[in-house]
């Protein structure tokens, strides 16, 4: 039961992350939300990989998730650098056409 529980949690995390990606405009928050989506997918993958007889996660998804975590960090580093450069060049922390001051939770 428990592995499926974690897989379902992963699915919920994907929903939370997508909401963050849609509703927040600050680019660092979008990066954060994107990471929540990613780790939700990993957790779903790991949980599904633990089904069936025997204990522990299937080593193949485990290895791929480790690869995924490292690649997610690489993508995050690149994205964060893009945001800081954008800020240094233009002073903006949101994409053009999106306003940072659209509500209390839009920062």
């Amino acid at each position: 039961m428990s592995p499926i529980l974690y897989a379902a949690t992963g699915a919920v995390l994907v929903g939370i992350g997508v909401f963050g990606l849609l509703a927040r405009t600050h680019l660092l928050r979008r990066i954060l939300a994107f990471n929540v989506i990613g780790s939700g997918i990993f957790l779903a993958f790991g949980g599904l990989g633990s089904r069936g007889p025997g204990s522990g996660v299937d080593p193949v998804p485990q290895a791929i998730v480790i690869t995924g975590i490292v690649v997610a960090l690489a993508a995050t580093a690149l994205a964060v650098t893009l945001v800081t450069r954008l800020f240094e060049e233009t002073g903006a922390v949101t994409l053009p056409g999106e306003h940072p001051a659209e509500g209390p939770d839009a920062s």
Partner: protein
């Protein structure tokens, strides 16, 4: 309900709640701290799934280094994360309600899908268990990473290098090849500097242990490389050693040493008939050699990725 199930349920609820709080938090710094907490809780989830290798990677990379990246960027952006004082109007609320409803629906559909999957999926576990004797190591995750699916790992190390090239390519022209990261102001005999002088020897041992243990137990090149990168970042931030200039040839050689060694062994394998195939009998020695080179390159790449674009002269 058993105690274990109660624990799992509470942990899952907590993970989802903290993730939601990280997305909704008003203050950017609060959001990032919540994200780090979320990463650590996710690491506990991986422990519960018996995936210690992933738990180590999630705690060190997912929570630690990602958190450090976000904190550093938030600091560089200054107060540009502060919530505006304007109140929430119903119109704006409606604007948020639509994506919220969409996301709840999507998450619910995903959960239904996950629950609908058959419960008896052996996956690739039997196959790995069958062939692990030939892989040279007894930790199945390391066997998959360095042997059965070695090409994944090879490409991944190249992705890391490419990401670093991407970060460096955002350097303003005048700073090209200079030193990355902010200038540090830690006092030479202060708390952080002393920590930075005492920590590296211990960190090196822990990394070596993770690397060595990775053959037969949780651990390996990625976890060891992350520990080394973290220790190195502490040393740099403490002002004990300066960050290197990105034009330094030794730095660049270090960055490609791991992928190059991996490719080299792969080519030797290709000469023997299988690209990335390890010579029979010497698989463990080969894997340890590749992993050592990989660890050093991963540590250098991760550390430099966190330091970001070059921005001051050497």
């Amino acid at each position: 309900m058993t105690a274990a199930l109660v624990f799992d349920l509470s942990l899952c609820l907590l993970i989802a709640a903290v993730a939601l709080a990280a997305v909704l938090a008003d203050d950017l710094f609060t959001a990032i701290v919540l994200f780090i907490v979320y990463g650590l809780l996710a690491a506990i989830a991986w422990v519960r799934l018996d995936a210690i290798d992933v738990a180590l990677a999630e705690a060190a990379i997912g929570a630690g280094l990602t958190g450090l990246l976000l904190v550093g960027a938030a600091a560089r952006l200054g107060g540009r994360g502060a919530p505006p004082a304007a109140g929430r109007t119903p119109w704006r609320l409606l604007g948020k309600a639509a994506p919220a409803a969409l996301c709840v629906a999507a998450a619910a559909a995903l959960v239904v899908l996950v629950l609908a999957l058959p419960d008896d999926a052996p996956g690739l576990r039997p196959l790995v268990a069958e062939t692990i004797a030939a892989s040279g190591v007894t930790n199945p995750v390391t066997a998959v990473l360095l042997n059965f699916r070695g090409y994944d790992t090879l490409l991944e190390t190249i992705v890391l290098a490419v990401a670093l090239v991407g970060v460096w390519s955002l350097t303003p022209d005048r700073d090209w090849g200079s030193v990355p990261g902010a200038r540090q102001h830690a006092r030479p005999d202060g708390v952080l500097a002393t920590f930075g002088r005492l920590l590296p020897a211990l960190g090196l041992l822990v990394a070596a242990h993770l690397l060595w243990a990775g053959a037969d137990a949780p651990g390996g090149a990625f976890q060891a490389g992350t520990v080394l990168a973290a220790v190195w970042l502490v040393v740099v931030m403490a002002g004990v050693l300066p960050a290197p200039a990105t034009a330094d040839t030794r730095v660049r050689l270090l960055l490609v040493a791991g992928p190059a060694a991996f490719l080299g062994f792969g080519a030797v394998g290709a000469a023997g008939g299988v690209f990335l195939g390890h010579p029979a009998g010497a698989a463990k020695a080969t894997i340890l050699a590749i992993e050592t080179a990989l660890t050093l390159s991963i540590a250098a790449t991760l550390g430099l990725l966190v330091l970001g674009v070059p921005r001051r002269p050497a």
